[in-house]
């Protein structure tokens, strides 16, 4: 008997929740703000769905409504990807250790 591929994806999903659980608990509290901005950036990987939706041309007309929604989603996700990673970078660059002045 074949297993429904959904079950495989569901397994990946559940295991990823566990990975997330353990990884996030090990994040130091002082980096919780960068954690939020970086999770924000990576959740914009939803852009892959947007790209597929935007570039799909099933018929002769160049843009149908579905394509347009795809393109709109691309802009939104792109703002998030660049904004999220760069602002995280900017924050992380500020965390410095004590200088050896003692």
């Amino acid at each position: 008997m074949d297993i429904d591929p959904f079950i495989f994806r569901f397994s990946i999903f559940i295991l990823s929740i566990f990975i997330g659980y353990y990884v996030v608990w090990s994040v130091t509290p002082s980096l919780h703000t960068p954690l939020m901005s970086v999770t924000n950036a990576i959740s914009s990987v939803i852009i892959v769905g947007a790209i597929i939706a935007a570039l799909a041309d099933k018929s002769e007309n160049v843009f149908d409504t579905a394509n347009i929604f795809g393109f709109l989603a691309i802009i939104l996700a792109a703002v998030n990807i660049f904004g999220g990673f760069l602002v995280t970078q900017r924050m992380l660059a500020m965390y410095k250790k004590k200088k050896k002045d003692k």
């Binding site: 002082s30 703000t33 959740s43 990987v45 939803i46 597929i52 795809g70 660049f82 900017r90």
Partner: protein, 465 residues
Amino acid sequence: MISSNFLAVFYLISGVLFILALRGLSSPETSRQGNLFGIIGMAIAIGVTILSVGNFSTGFLYLIILLLLGGSIGAFIAFKIPMTAMPELVAGFHSLVGLAAVFVAISAFLNPEVFNLGFPGEIKIASLIEMSLGAAIGAVTFTGSIIAFLKLRGLMSGSPITFVGQHYLNLALGLILLSLIFYLCKTQIDNLFWTIIIISFLLGVLLIIPIGGADMPVVISMLNSYSGWAAAGIGFTLENTALIITGALVGSSGAILSYIMCKGMNRSFFNVILGGWGATDQLSSSKTKEQKPVKSGNADDAAFLMKNASSVIIVPGYGMAVAQAQHALREMVDALKKNGVKVTYAIHPVAGRMPGHMNVLLAEANVPYDEVFELEEINNDFANCDVAYVIGANDVTNPVAKTDPQSPIYGMPILDVEKSKSVLFVKRSLSPGYAGIDNDLFYRDNTLMLFSDAKKMTEDIIKSL
């Protein structure tokens, strides 16, 4: 064109890189490398997706243009945003993820062949459930984050908006949503799908308006979590491993942060979500406070006290962020250190408007992160400290949380500022904090109130040092 197996392997690699990006945040040293992993993961995901579609016609050109357009807007915001505005920035970004999820779901609904989900009017039931869940959570995230953004930005009052039957209305809307999804699967009628999205937009607004300003750390974390679940829902629809992994990571990350924030306030998650805190008790506390004597001082008194202390603990709060006092604060600490005073910083989990807010502000002011401590690490040190300098914090130091079971903040872990030999409170007035409760500490003998703007007072202290 790449085969779909090949594609899946690359998505898996992206997912692993995202896990490493979060793992890097376990210490500041590894965090920058982690962020780089995240960027590589994203580049791989986008790159292979474009290759797999293999359509390099006009649409591709538009794709590149829009990517650059969105990217430059994002980059511009990222470089320009002041660190004090991080909470609203994150809320704003969450709204974009939510809306993007809605758009992708709409696109998949209108054009299911592209994603191998069936045909319009004959979409696979499982896909239909997944895409409507993704769209609904995305829509709630979108409008909820907009409200959070407006509240954080001060464009909308931070006080809770409540009305009779609010929770029942939300519950009813939730049940309507579920039944609409059920009927959508049965009938495949377009209008049901649009109704689901519209109701979800409405629900997002209704869920966030009753939550007050001080609870924003929980709200932001919660919306962070929602944006993850929305991404995971879309990931199931598109059968995309990278999205499923990422959605699960982000969803659990936001959930953990919400839990930490709730614990920092000793409130249950539902208590926060149901909202309405801080709207009561304001009157009763304002009546009594006039009668009690308060010792107030000026910058010279504070400078004298701290200069002659051997150890000082700084307790920053949201007021420091509002006054942008972090740079002045660090200069004051530098001056104190020159006088041989040992200075450390104590940060309460819910200080500020988002998790880790104070840490970022102090880092921005070049405070070394190994001088900054969390509540559990430093709380015992207050007993041996000469001066606690409380700048813009209030409720998180209120001893009533330990003594008065009637108090709304009873049981909340607090910084034991009261145990230090003297306490300096920089505050504009005696007004109670967001929780609306009077702080007993203001009237203690060893407390000196410094009535002024946090930044101005700190600068004046630097002058008299």
